[in-house]
Symmetry: C2
Subunit: 345 residues, 2 copies
DNA sequence: TGTTAGCACTCAACTCATTAGAGTGCTAAC
DNA sequence: GTTAGCACTCTAATGAGTTGAGTGCTAACA
């Protein structure tokens, strides 16, 4: 068998097939390509080329007498080498972002929604993992005879509240002392930097109230941990009904469920964040996705960064024939926008 | 025309029709009823009765040669007069509830999920409106040179955080004074009870720092208001795919969207909460629902109360042929359970 | 007078065959 | 290497025929 190569013409045909399929969602025939492109080739010639492309695994036929559709490998080729990014009218998007919300979670919810409306795909945004974030401020206050409120503020003004049950009654002065103790020892530390040495030093200074120190440390750990099984915001799940290839009951139900449970989406976030090498944007086509229920979709994710150590993920989930150019362009804009937003604050 | 009456027999037939339809989801024929019941009537007799029932508007025919299905009026009759509550094995449900979560929102999320899994319908839980709730405790702390953190704790340990930007630099002593000022004036008050008199008195005492008092009041108002466009948790939206009559694309998409947006669900909450007369449980059948997109569903809602003024709503959304007995029983259990939970704390 | 048997009728749903049309592969000619 | 052309394949759409569940109505029965 002669070794086949992806020559210029094959690439052009491939491009034409994908472009057309992205638009219509229908298998593309040779005649269409013959007219659609400026190659001036007859459908017969295209057919020959398409037979080659099929043999090479870039396209496939749903059935004998249908046109061709891109295979996962074909999409991959497209994403890796053939895309021209559209930096289209994302201006409006920018503007909307600038109506900046104060609260982080509201902002992220809005981002998810904005993206969904803008792209007509399903979207998810993970709140930044607070992992390596530093403690900025701790405040204990008494709310009831035997209840303490612990407010924990982290770098980036992420705030955690926790109510502690305490056995002993504490007077105002003790609480004040504890506050000073906690803040002098812990401020500026990241969670990993709080070691046993620090803790025992604090306990010693706390004297009879050492139990409370333990409780507070636990509260901090818990507050941060609660954040670690990530908060994820989603939007536009029902957009999948726009794409007939995803809209049948079986698939739709699975996808909707994944979106509602959110649990499974964390895998996507993990996967995206773990890949340090990337340029910020990652494309999963079909089976490449870490989430089994989305094997008929493509997923494009981007990482955004709000100051050091605080990285979150934005994901767009759509059919394999999604408009990769637009999606990637939009994601780039959004992530830059988020970066800027942080810097301005 | 002779006036028709719902005699004993008609009621029995009606019951049989509904019971059967709830199970199968298919139109019910006369022959089925003839065998299904212990009435010992021929199908012909049943047919006559059914003709009457149809004329009275309790049942209807999807098409000439099909059996009958209950109309909204028919379901209403059933719910109002014919149901026998099942207080079945809800014990496990109780047990699961008792793994009580500390954080309110986690608890409510869990309730939504639990209900969804248990009933196989879609569910929603609204966080209790904090509206008439009383302030328990306010705490200002400095987190940065020109940033104050205001922590607002309400009755029931609902906590709001708010970061205030302040123009002037404040020393610790000033902040302490402000804290005392705020707490002495505001503790125990509900939002409506904070009137201009209170505020101006506080401002006067605050002297040059009166601007901050305004900011804090605003923060309180805002914090509470943010809570007023209600937090709603949903679960099991994909359960609608279990019921063919809701699973077609058009309907499914609309329902899923309503669940994702949540915005529209607030209407349901409003409606449920506004009805002071009710016994806690409300049933909306088909077009009775305040949410247009759910006109093909039935919605059963319950109000739960966590201390005075803190009332939330639990809703179960399913097909019109939902298992009303079970759903109502379950809702009763859950709401009582929530009540108990609060009392124990 | 209420109940029932029986029959003609209706209509959705299914099967089956046919057709139309889109698309292919292959061959022969350019 | 390219193309025209033709036989072939297969899906999707169409329509006729059949089935079966269910009805309404009538006449007979208790």
């Amino acid at each position: 068998m002669v070794e086949m190569q992806l020559d210029e013409r094959k690439i052009k045909i491939m491009q034409a097939i994908i472009r057309n399929y992205l638009e219509t969602g229908e298998p593309v025939g040779s005649r269409t390509i013959s007219k659609y492109t400026d190659l001036n080739l007859s459908s017969a010639t295209i057919r020959n080329e398409m037979a080659d492309l099929e043999e090479m695994g870039y396209i496939l036929q749903p059935h004998t007498s249908a046109g061709r559709i891109p295979s996962d490998k074909g999409y991959r080729l497209y994403v890796d080498t053939m895309m021209e990014e559209k930096d289209k009218e994302l201006e409006e998007l920018k503007e909307m972002m600038l109506e900046k919300e104060d609260k982080m979670d509201n902002l992220l919810k809005q981002v998810a929604k904005l993206l969904a409306v803008n792209t007509n795909y399903a979207t998810m945004v993970s709140a930044p993992a607070v992992h390596r974030n530093k403690l900025k401020f701790i405040q204990l206050s008494r709310v009831d005879v035997n209840q303490l409120l612990a407010v924990i503020v982290m770098e980036g003004n992420v705030i955690k509240n926790n109510i502690l049950q305490v056995a002993e009654e504490l007077n105002d002065e003790t609480i004040l002392k504890l506050n000073i103790l906690l803040n002098t020892h812990l401020n500026g530390l990241a969670l990993e930097e709080i070691n046993l040495g620090t803790i025992s030093a604090m306990k010693q200074q706390a004297g009879i109230h050492s139990a409370i120190v333990s409780d507070v440390i636990d509260a901090i750990a818990e507050g941060i941990k609660a954040d670690e099984d990530l908060e994820i915001y989603t939007s536009g799940a029902n957009n999948i009904f726009r794409y007939p290839e995803l809209a049948d009951q079986q698939k739709a139900s699975e996808i909707i469920n994944t979106f509602e449970e959110k649990q499974m989406l964390t895998e996507l976030v993990q996967d995206t964040l773990s890949d340090e090498s990337n340029t910020g944007i990652q494309v999963y086509i079909g089976n490449e996705t870490p989430i089994q229920t989305m094997k008929d979709c493509s997923v494009v994710t981007a990482t955004y960064e709000l100051g050091e150590g605080m990285r979150g993920t934005i994901g767009i989930i759509g059919p394999k024939r999604m408009d990769y150019d637009k999606v990637i362009g939009t994601l780039k804009t959004i992530t830059h926008q988020l970066d800027d937003l942080y810097k301005k604050k």
